[in-house]
């Protein structure tokens, strides 16, 4: 029983790590711009395809990961400069633009890549045995990479000048501007970082699961649950919520019914919001990054 529970914990943390990587981008963009970017799931999908084609062309998984982060960061910057910049101050317009982007990106991808699903060969096939415990190597690698990305992102926010500027903007946009922070540059940086994280999440997804032009919906939905669960705009909240959701879904599916998988996440969300109406790390009337 203990073996089984331990394996399930690792499974849950791995899934939670993936969810967190997606949610961080969403919560960061929301915390700074007030825009709920629904197209984040499509960036996850495009990141997965970048890694797939990188691997198909012999570049390998690691180059694919780097390329996906770079490509999605660049795309995030382009989207911010051409579309989202014009919707700042009007969250509804930003939301509408992101909904439109879903249709455009999804259908263009289906036309370009075909709707057929594809799989990426994992860089670490096989399993690792620790006594009675068996862990698929790739799952452990994904968990490690997710933790690494989340930690690096957290350090970026806490330790770097840009990170401090982002946090300052999250607290008070006008105050940050008055203190000399270049609002437009920081907004661009937020989109680049959030999109690069989405690209990385796509590569991690692709190394475990099938990819298709329509794969963006699930990570996006989880990302939004986490954004609400953690507290809108709260990075520590998104991290805690990601792992909590992953564990809830995995334990529910393992020991109760697997046909109710999403339901466990929503139950956690409802119960949390009953006791913490602003989410786990939310603050009344404020957003935190």
């Amino acid at each position: 029983m203990l073996v089984d529970v331990t394996q399930t914990v690792v499974d849950g943390l791995m899934v939670g790590g993936l969810y967190t990587t997606v949610a961080l981008g969403i919560t960061l963009v929301f915390g700074i711009t007030g825009i709920l970017n629904f197209a984040q799931g499509q960036l996850v999908m495009l990141g997965a395809y970048v890694a797939y084609f990188a691997a198909a062309n012999g570049l390998g998984f690691w180059a694919g990961l780097g390329l996906a982060m770079l490509a999605m960061g660049a795309l995030g910057l382009a989207l911010e400069r051409t579309l989202f910049r014009h919707t700042l101050g009007d969250p509804m317009a930003g939301l509408t633009v992101s909904l439109g982007l879903i249709m455009v990106i999804e259908n263009l991808s289906a036309a370009a890549f075909t709707p057929d699903s594809r799989t990426l060969d994992p860089p670490l096939p096989g399993s690792i045995h620790l006594g009675a415990l068996t862990f698929p190597s790739q799952r452990l690698l994904v968990l490690a990479l997710a933790v690494l990305l989340v930690t690096a992102f957290r350090l970026f926010l806490q330790r770097t000048r840009y990170g401090k500027a982002i946090r300052a903007m999250g607290q008070n946009r006008i105050g940050a501007a008055l203190a000399g922070i270049r609002i437009s540059d920081v907004t661009s940086a937020v989109f680049i970082a959030g999109s690069a994280l989405a690209g990385a999440a796509g590569v991690l997804y692709a190394s475990l699961f099938a990819i298709s032009p329509y794969m963006g919906a699930t990570p996006l939905m989880k990302g939004f649950i986490l954004t609400a669960l953690g507290g809108l705009g709260s990075v520590p909240g998104a991290i805690a919520a990601g792992f909590l959701l992953g564990l809830a879904e995995t334990f529910g599916s393992r020991y109760l019914s697997a046909s109710f998988r999403d339901g466990y996440g929503f139950m956690v969300l409802i119960v949390t919001l009953l006791f913490f109406p602003n989410g786990l790390w939310g603050r009344r009337g404020k957003v935190r990054v």
């Binding site: 089984d4 394996q7 399930t8 499974d11 899934v15 259908n107 289906a110 075909t114 709707p115 057929d116 699903s117 799989t119 060969d121 096939p125 096989g126 399993s127 068996t134 698929p136 790739q138 799952r139 997804y205 475990l208 699961f209 099938a210 298709s212 329509y214 919906a217 699930t218 879904e249 995995t250 334990f251 529910g252 599916s253 393992r254 019914s257 697997a258 046909s259 109710f260 998988r261 999403d262």
Partner: protein, 384 residues
């Protein structure tokens, strides 16, 4: 004034004087509704290609002759967009053309049920392919409906026989997405497996959009289970096979209620065996020489290579020829009741062997694919 009137008359008569004018005048319009966009397009895009190819081939031979007149075929196409509401709208748009009396298309149940309701109401002859169509067939009002793919009830027994002959197992777990169709599949397969001497140890349904199957599969670890009956799409099946191999201590024999070897080929040397059911023809593994010519024509027509999903292109391909044949035999291109009755006649020997029972259910031979010891073979299963 008189000159103007003459010119107008000549202008109106011009189309009939042009070469090929008779074809322009005498056209049979066939509706084609399918999800060419959205997540279901992987099924309907190749299925639509098959219909277009059949129509092109019929027209290339000069069309059909009915009552002394020559007719060619023209398709009226609409996209169901993988969504029931869009499928209903697409059906309505096709039906707005009063000349459409026969409609083909849709392989997935959500959009299919919505569109079929519209076709039923409009009393057009509809040849579909989706699984839940079986719940409509045989009921009052569905006399003009046909399902071009065999029902599970028709396929299950020969599939189990062929699978167990190739891969003997004593115990099995059924792992399917939590959908109406899956519950029907489980209810159908469980007694058939048990009557074949295989103990069904567990039946587990998972959320349909699941990607991580570890929590489901861990339920079967170290349970001494020999095999798994899995479904229902290639991505789901491949994820289950792959994750079973990665997690370890899980069955290595898979009976796939789906139509291609794609989910297992990558893991051929990590698993003991994998069987699948191709409700049309296995275009990749079969060595049937009669398929070679069709594959060549398909590649020339679509400018695409045959892939693991191309078998869907055969869903309606023969049915188009059957409808054309029936129109000639009954001497009408619009009498859908007579055409429907004719379709329920003897089996049609095309690329597939296709027949329909009196309810419009397909009774067609199908292929069972077997992957064993890393080698693929195909067995033709005959349906009576």
């Amino acid at each position: 004034m008189r000159r103007w009137a003459l010119a107008l008359r000549l202008l109106l008569l011009l189309p009939f004087a042009l070469p090929g004018a008779s074809a322009w005048a005498d056209t049979v319009k066939l509706g084609l509704v399918g999800s060419t966009t959205g997540p279901h397009s992987g099924f309907d895009l190749p299925a639509n290609e098959g219909v277009r190819m059949a129509v092109a081939e019929l027209n290339g031979k000069g069309g059909i002759k009915v009552g002394g007149k020559s007719y060619t075929f023209q398709l009226v196409e609409e996209d169901a967009q993988s969504k029931p509401d869009f499928a209903a709208s697409a059906a309505q748009r096709v039906l707005q053309d009063d000349d459409v009396h026969v409609v083909f298309g849709i392989l997935t149940s959500g959009p299919g049920m919505a569109a079929a309701t519209a076709f039923q109401r409009a009393k057009v002859l509809y040849v579909g392919g989706f699984t839940l169509m079986d719940t409509l067939l045989g009921k009052p009002g569905a006399e003009l409906m046909f399902r071009a793919l065999d029902a599970d009830a028709v396929v299950a027994k020969p599939f189990i026989q062929a699978s167990l002959q190739a891969l003997p197992i004593k115990s099995i777990a059924i792992v399917l997405p939590n959908e109406d169709v899956s519950h029907e599949i489980a209810n159908l397969y469980k007694p058939l497996l048990e009557s074949a001497g295989v103990k069904v140890v567990a039946t587990e349904f998972f959320q349909p959009d699941t990607t991580d199957y570890a929590p489901v599969l861990r339920k079967f670890q170290n349970q001494g289970i020999d095999g798994m009956l899995i479904g229902t799409t290639d991505p789901q099946a491949e994820a289950i096979v792959r994750q079973s191999v990665e997690l370890g201590n899980l069955p290595r024999v898979f009976l796939y209620r789906g139509g291609s070897s794609a989910p297992a080929l990558k893991y051929a040397h990590d698993i003991t065996g994998f069987t699948w059911q191709i409700l049309t023809r296995d275009l990749q593994a079969s060595d049937d020489p009669s398929l070679a010519d069709w594959k060549r024509r398909y590649e020339a027509f679509t400018h695409k290579q045959v892939s693991s999903q191309t078998y869907w292109a055969l869903t309606f391909y023969d049915a188009v020829f059957m409808v054309a044949d029936a129109m000639q035999k009954v001497g009408s291109v619009t009498d859908v009741k007579a055409i429907a009755a004719q379709l329920k006649g003897p089996r049609y020997q095309g690329v597939r062997t296709v027949g329909f029972d009196r309810d419009g259910r397909a009774l067609s031979d199908f292929d069972v694919g077997i992957l064993r010891d890393g080698k693929v073979s195909v067995v033709r299963a005959t349906v009576q």
